[in-house]
């Protein structure tokens, strides 16, 4: 579907680059995901986990072949692969790679359809990649749907468990509802500008042909903002997050709160930077976005304080981190290479690493002890020093303590905001992150200072893959905190 209004530079770029490269990661993920399904015919599940890790490692390597190759466009400029999309795809794939070892329980479970779970994860990552590289609103829509439909299924994968069922239904109904709102917004924007192409929309927004269409454009933009705000779990559209995250099996919750959120923010950033950058349009976006940001920070942090379940606390914590990322979006400075984009990239990486390790430890402890409250962690430092250590590192990183990746993530995001003059917002975010230290320290106190009771006296079983993944995660988190220059400013 060739777009009539494609700007010439994209056409030329496409003609010269089409043969040279292709969308390696998308094609590989789809093909290997299908192949992975056939492995499910074997009676034993034991091969699946190593194969899945191999697939993700392979795609991760292939993905970085496109690094610094300049923007390449596909499908008549509907997808654009540049450093921005390669970097975010890298985060998504790396997160998935370190996450899969925690699915070990399913390998031994006769009831679980592990090959299907893995293939759905692979397919949903195709959606995440599209969200990081779209250049056309159709691709944004398809990316969100590919990502979400797979997650609806995985949220309900524990078929006999009513909580899992309910999470799936809630996620599905709310997700479909907000997709409708997003689409209505897109249709109105199309009506006002006559195109779906990002650069052409941005041109039409800045050079309006017909002033009377302006209200339609603004309503469309606001509806799109609501739709995407729901997908990243920003307040006031966060209400589904705690319920869905708590009901979903922990392995998939970890995937939702990292991969889905990272991809959502990549899409959000692209939309802000490439579609609605005009000063007039900011008059609509910015107040709404700032209000959403303040509300998200407040709801996430205050909500997390009140929780008794660690899983629910992590759900609220993921809302609050969406708030910190929104601070960077509010302060975006107009280019995908700017301080905001780099801040979001670093923050997403640090947040994903810490969250995967937090959910990983939670899953191991909850599977062994059948409880998800803080007291379930009592005495973990004695029985499982490695688990206690990696949970401590991840909690400190999420709280933003120096020497961890989370500190520099917050630092870059807040710096970008201060440079653009949003000092009040940064002070508020700092206050909120002080609140967050309270609930992030609670599991650490339980692990190191409380004695084990009858339920928690036994060690939690951990496999080699899992301890390896936890060590890598803790190492990367500390590495990001000591040498932030490795990732900062790469875009």
């Amino acid at each position: 579907m060739a777009s009539c209004s494609t700007i010439p530079t994209i056409r030329e770029a496409q003609a010269s680059r089409y043969i040279a490269t292709n969308m390696n990661s998308i094609i590989l993920l789809s093909a290997l995901g299908l192949g992975n399904l056939f492995l499910g015919f074997r009676r034993s599940n034991r091969l699946l986990l190593p194969v899945m890790m191999l697939i993700l490692g392979l795609v991760l390597t292939v993905n970085f072949l496109d690094w610094n190759q300049g923007p390449q466009s596909f499908f008549s400029g509907m997808l654009i692969v540049d450093n921005f999309s390669v970097a975010f795809t890298g985060i998504v794939l790396l997160t998935a790679l370190v996450l899969v070892p925690f699915s070990q329980k399913y390998v031994l479970d006769e009831e679980a359809n592990l090959a299907e779970y893995y293939s759905l994860l692979l397919f949903s990552m195709v959606g995440a990649i599209m969200l990081a590289s779209y250049n056309h609103l159709l691709m944004l829509f398809l990316g969100i749907e590919i990502l979400s439909v797979a997650m609806y299924v995985l949220a309900g994968s524990d078929k006999r468990n009513l909580r899992s069922n309910e999470a799936a239904l809630k996620y599905f109904l709310m997700g479909a509802f907000f997709t409708g709102i997003l689409l209505f917004g897109m249709a109105l924007v199309y009506g006002a500008t006559g195109t779906f192409e990002l650069s052409s929309i941005s041109f039409a927004v800045q050079n309006p042909v017909n002033e009377s269409l302006r209200p339609m454009l603004y309503i469309g933009m606001l509806l799109m903002l609501l739709g995407i705000g729901f997908k990243v779990g920003a307040a006031p559209f966060h209400f589904w997050t705690p319920d869905v995250y708590e009901g979903t099996p922990t392995f998939f919750t970890a995937f939702m709160s990292t991969v889905v959120k990272t991809a959502g923010f990549a899409a959000f950033l692209k939309l802000l930077v490439q579609v609605f950058p005009a000063a007039t349009a900011q008059g609509v976006w910015l107040p709404t976005l700032t209000a959403m940001c303040v509300l998200t920070l407040l709801v996430g942090n205050v909500g997390a304080v009140a929780q008794t379940s660690v899983k629910r606390m992590l759900a609220y914590s993921s809302i609050s981190h969406a708030g910190y990322l929104l601070v960077a979006l509010v302060a975006f400075n107009g280019a995908l290479e700017g301080a905001s984009a780099n801040g979001i990239l670093f923050y997403s990486l640090a947040y994903s690493l810490a969250t995967v390790s937090a959910f990983g430890v939670l899953k191991l402890v909850a599977d062994a002890r059948h409880r998800e409250d803080y007291a379930g962690f009592n005495g973990l430092a004695k029985t499982n020093p490695l688990l206690a250590f990696s949970l401590t590192v991840s909690m400190l990183s999420l709280a933003g303590i120096p020497l961890t990746g989370g500190f520099f993530g917050k630092f870059f995001v807040f710096m970008a905001a201060v440079e653009n003059g949003y000092i009040g917002l940064v002070i508020f975010a700092l206050l909120m992150s002080m609140v967050s230290i309270y609930y992030y320290l609670r599991p650490i106190i339980a692990m190191y200072m409380r004695a084990a009771d009858v339920d928690t006296a036994e060690a939690v079983p951990v496999t080699t893959f899992q301890s390896g993944a936890l060590l890598v995660l803790a190492l990367l988190t500390v590495l990001l905190g000591v040498l932030p220059g490795l990732i900062a400013g790469v875009l």
């Binding site: 749907e145 309900g156 069922n165 239904l169 479909a176």
Partner: protein
């Protein structure tokens, strides 16, 4: 039929399509917010998606730009995929609690 379809569509002014689609969309939103049966909520969501389709086709015909109509095909395909997944989820819940009333699902509280 010696008139082609875009010309037929253009015999009605564009505002009427916008009002119609907005009304249809609002009915869908109201349905989602007020009804308690999962299947009816789901039907309301489909109504919202079809309001979007009407709007896209109208804009597309008035602007003589095929993009909007192609978008509609994608929305239809994705909506069909969503229906498959959504009905499967509703059937799964019905097997467990013999009802599709969303109020009965209160294990997870806000």
């Amino acid at each position: 039929m010696d008139q082609n379809i875009p010309q037929v569509i253009q015999t009605v002014p564009l505002q009427y399509y916008v009002f119609f689609a907005t009304a249809l969309f609002s009915i869908g939103v109201l349905g989602v917010l007020t009804r308690r049966n999962a299947i009816i909520i789901f039907m309301s969501v489909e109504l919202m998606l079809n309001a979007v389709n009407v709007l896209l086709v109208a804009f597309s015909a008035f602007r003589s730009d095929p993009n909007g109509q192609v978008f509609v095909f994608f929305i239809m395909a994705v909506a069909a995929a969503e229906v498959a997944v959504g009905l499967a989820i509703i059937v799964m819940i019905y097997r467990n609690i013999q009802s599709t009333d969303v109020n009965l699902l209160s294990r997870l509280k806000f």
